[in-house]
């Protein structure tokens, strides 16, 4: 795995925890422990995302304004991080 893939995989794991906790909180909105976990994971995910985007280009069209060239040319997910 390339350095980019390792970093992206780590970011995907953080983002997955966010998806899972968010879904759990849809039906358990008062679970303070889960809310705390969501908050701390959100911080880690944001820091890692900033670092990744700085290094490898934007991950969403929201953050692409500063780097349109990289939005087009960074690897597309279905290409397995190869091209």
């Amino acid at each position: 795995m390339s350095e980019r893939e390792i970093m992206l995989k780590k970011l995907c794991s953080y983002d997955f925890v966010l998806v899972e906790l968010n879904l759990y909180l849809d039906t358990h909105p008062t679970d303070t422990q889960a809310i705390e976990k969501l908050k701390s994971c959100e911080q880690s995910a944001r820091a890692l995302r900033d670092e990744f985007e700085e290094k490898y280009g934007p991950l969403s069209s929201v953050s692409m304004i500063t780097n349109p060239y990289s939005w087009i040319n960074s690897p597309w997910p279905w290409d397995g991080g190869e091209e």
Partner: protein
């Protein structure tokens, strides 16, 4: 609105193409119990859901299913990449190839194009949530069947991830149904449409 994220929910990196597997996995792209139908079903049902928790579950699960659609598209794409027409034919995928070449088309494994006839939006929260619970189990069964044929760990790993998500979604929909029935009037227990008829229920 929706914003695209240029990454998969879970990594897919298949080293060995296998058209025979692609031919069956395409069913989770556009088949009756596939991810496209799941997403479209939940994102369409959410408008008439009576409680904020239910609107949230359907929105969030429906959005996640779009990510799963992308994972399945990626799996089929990587399983057919670089194959010759002879290899495609030997794997029994020539009928698909003649219509779509190596493009990713939403269809069932048997060749039926995606049809909204395989899903329902009833505008009734009880009916819709029961359909959603069934849909998650149908998708889980399909993944179980795919796993009977898949022998490549590069394919099994993301398919197992997707199978697990069906189980989690089933749990969340179950909680949603419980939440709904708990809020129903005792005169309206499984009786009438809590999305549409709620203003017509006589006060006790």
């Amino acid at each position: 609105m929706f914003v695209y994220e240029k990454k998969l929910q879970y990594p897919v990196k298949i080293k060995t193409p296998n058209a025979a597997l692609a031919k069956i996995i395409i069913s989770q792209y556009g088949g009756p119990d596939g991810e496209l139908g799941a997403s479209l079903r939940y994102l369409s049902q959410r408008y008439t859901m009576p409680y904020p928790e239910l609107k949230a579950i359907l929105t969030d699960v429906g959005t996640e299913e779009l990510g799963h659609l992308e994972m399945i598209g990626t799996i089929v794409y990587q399983l057919t990449k670089g194959l010759t027409p002879e290899q495609i034919k030997a794997a029994g995928m020539d009928a698909y190839f003649v219509d779509h070449t190596a493009g990713i088309y939403p269809q069932a494994a048997g060749g039926m194009p995606y049809s909204a006839a395989s899903m329902q939006v009833k505008g009734d929260a009880i009916t819709d949530l029961h359909e959603d619970l069934a849909a998650e189990q149908k998708a889980r069964s399909t993944y179980d069947n795919i796993l009977r044929y898949a022998d490549d760990p590069d394919v099994k790993d993301p398919i197992r991830f997707l199978r697990e998500r069906e189980i989690v979604h089933y749990q969340r929909f179950g909680e949603g149904l419980r939440l709904l029935t708990d809020k129903l009037d005792s005169k309206n227990f499984y009786a009438f449409n809590s999305s549409f008829d709620k203003n017509k229920i006589q006060p006790r």
